[in-house]
Structure formats: C-alpha cells, structure tokens
Symmetry: C2
Subunit: 249 residues, 2 copies
Amino acid sequence: MNDTIAALLAHRSVRAYAPDPVPAGTLEALVAAAQSAPTSSNLQTWSVLTVDDKATRKSLAAIARGQKHIEECPLFLVWLADLSRLEELGRRKSASTDALPYLEPFMFAMIDAALAAQNATVALESLGLGSVYIGALRNNPTEVARLLGLPPNVMAVFGHCIGYPDPERPAAVKPRLPQNVVLHRERYTAPSQPAIDSYDERLAAFQQSEGMATVGWSKMALERVGGIAALTGRDRIREEINTLGFELR
Amino acid sequence: MNDTIAALLAHRSVRAYAPDPVPAGTLEALVAAAQSAPTSSNLQTWSVLTVDDKATRKSLAAIARGQKHIEECPLFLVWLADLSRLEELGRRKSASTDALPYLEPFMFAMIDAALAAQNATVALESLGLGSVYIGALRNNPTEVARLLGLPPNVMAVFGHCIGYPDPERPAAVKPRLPQNVVLHRERYTAPSQPAIDSYDERLAAFQQSEGMATVGWSKMALERVGGIAALTGRDRIREEINTLGFELR
C-alpha cells in the first residue's frame, strides 16, 4: 500500500460539481497523462475532444437521457476510438489499410481510448478533481458524430464530466464485488451464490446509507440487462457503428 | 503537475524482468485497485485470471507468436471481458438477460476490463514494478478460452506481463504523437501533415537511440494495418468471439 494505491481505492464517481472552473493547463496535463497510457503497437488509435458549447452540451445531455451533469460540469470531454488517422495516412501515402475494416482494429481503438481515459481519471483525481464517464453517448453514436463533426471511422466511446466535487453533495465510494469473485487462479471459477448474496447485502446497505432504493446488486444488474428496452437504443449500435464507417468484419 | 502525473508520464512498456518474484499481497493490491476503476452501471463485467503453470504460459506465448516475456515474467495476468456472471445470475434468478447478446454489452465489458487493467498498471508502477499488455492473446481467443477454462461469454481481452524491470535492460519512454493531433476542441480536426512528419522524425530518433530500425511512425503504423496478414489471425476474430458465445447482435 502507498499513496497512489490509496488514491485509486478512494475513487468515486462525481456527478455534482462546485462552480469553480478547471485551472488553465489542467486539460493539457490530463491529455499528456492519457497519451502516456499503453497503446496497441503504438498506433494511438484514439482522440479526445472538449465540448464547451452550451447547445452541443444540451444535445449530448438529451442523447444521454437527461444527465444534467453533462451540461453542468466545468469540463466535458469525449473519448474517441479513432481509426481515421490511419486511414488518412494510408490515403496520403497511397498505402493499403486493408486490415482496418475488421472488428479487431475497432476493438483495439476502443481499448486504447479506455486506457487513455483512465490515465486521465487518475491524473485528475490527483489534482483534487472528480469525474464520471458517460457511456450513454452510445445511445446514439451517429447523432454524436454529427454534433462533434467526427469523420468516418471515429466513434465516441464515452463522455467524461470533470470538475471539483461539490462539497455540499459528496459522493461515496461504492463497494464492489468480493475480490474472489473477479480474481481467478489458473482456471476460471464461477462465483458462489453466498459470495453474490453477501455483496447484495453490502450494496443494499450502501444504497440505504445513500438514500437510494435498497435493491442490492443482483436485482439492479438484472434490470440493466433484462430486456431490449434496457439498452436505451443501443440494440441498434452495430448498425450505427457500421454507418460510422466501421465494417466490423 | 504532481508526483502522480509525473509517474504516469514516466510509463514505459517493460518486457525484461529481474528474477525477483512479486511480493506476497501485491496481486491482491493490484486487483483491489482494478476493482476501484469505474465500471458501466456498476455491472463489473470483467474478471482477471493469474497463470503460473509453465505449460499454459508456453501455450499462451505460442499464441502470441513467441513473446518470451509471457513465459519469463514473475506474474502473468489475463484480463477478461466477462458477461457470464450476469448470464448465470439470470439463470439462477429465472430472470431475462435478453440484452446480453448485443454488441453493446460486449463493448462495455471490454471497456470495463481495460479500465480495471489500467488502474492495476498505475498501481504496479507505483510499487516499482513494470509491465506490458499482450494484445496478441486475441490471435486465438477460442484456444485461450480452452486453456484457461473460460465459460461461454467470457473473452480474454489482453494478457499482462508483470515484474521488476531488469536493470540491465532498461526500457525507455516512447514519444507519442504531438498533443494537438489527439486533442480536438468542439469539433474534430484532422491532423496536419507537418505534425505527423515531425512525429515521424521524433520517433525515428527514438528508434535509433534504442537500436531499432529507424522507420518512424507512419511506415510502422501502415505496416500494422496494411494487409490481412498483419492481423496475425485476427481477421477471424468476429467468428471466434461468436464461438465464445457473444452474438454481437
């Protein structure tokens, strides 16, 4: 254990911000940290985009089904899986980019974006800032692409609300599954029902302490994957991603 | 700037390890850090698996086209996109999991795994350890699943070699694309050719200083996406992922 690990363990999602702006130079420091993350074969198939414009923020919040923190946060980023740079490079150099239309490059671009974003999250928390990722931008990737002027072969993986946490509305560290549920040795082992039951109880206690509905984990999780409606439009995401130019062969 | 950000900027991929084992308790600290990463709707759709068995390591190294560090590293992890827990939960509770066969849950599971892994990387570097991700496990996801006993709806996203860096074979920090290439404001902007050219020169200088072929970035990157052969088997990854149980609808 050390300060870095203690800071990682203290992570919480922050959706309520103080009005203070993010200081000058912070964005550049976060992006530098993001660029230092590992990237598949150094291809760096990601980009990040800042959105300040109020109307664009409002449109993005609507796509995310009314998540007001998208409009309220001092800094809003969108992390992008970006194969357009390589495609453009191929065009400029008259070189083949025949591997790009496969599912694999889409996957490593998405992984690259996630690794980069997480480094930015670690960096911003070390500066006293808080944040939350907005996966709900995937409710409508083509509309997001239109709003942000994304070229073909670029997709918004998730948004990112950033700001100083509002001291009046502090967020708590959410308990996670018992470690032995996610950690396997040599071969995969399915979790025991008591391990899941114990987590249901711990999360219910947390929900109660936070004034949330005390449903535990299993019920909440099953609601999230229980029907097509729970996908909030993302049942069409494969076609939408195709429309953005990724063939996903 | 602070110590945390300085540490992130000092990241390098480490493929050569001192023989010292990873101290007791380290794995558990890394997984705790990983569990503290953000996860989509708290679904925690990832797992991590340790592989010590020499024969399994050898098989995994062969899948990764002879990456010896997989056999040599003191600690080897495999980060897993894991929808099996939710599927099993649905079965136990006789609840619908109709949303799981879509591409979207596969995507958020992969993102969850990447975010978790990157927290582990930050944690291990804070302990003086080094590491490198092994995307080449995706050369053959079904064989990896067989070796590790993965149930349906679990896929190895990447491996992770971890150990103390060998002081005799130090790794250097690799320069990345200029920040203005990856950072966009309000709308996406394609990079200028001079920006890419300048990076080609910087990376060529780095390659020369490391005793590598001085090809720059553009040529290296285009070789990686230039033909189906460059995918090292991953042109079949969509079918392989289907075979693992993910429909990717």
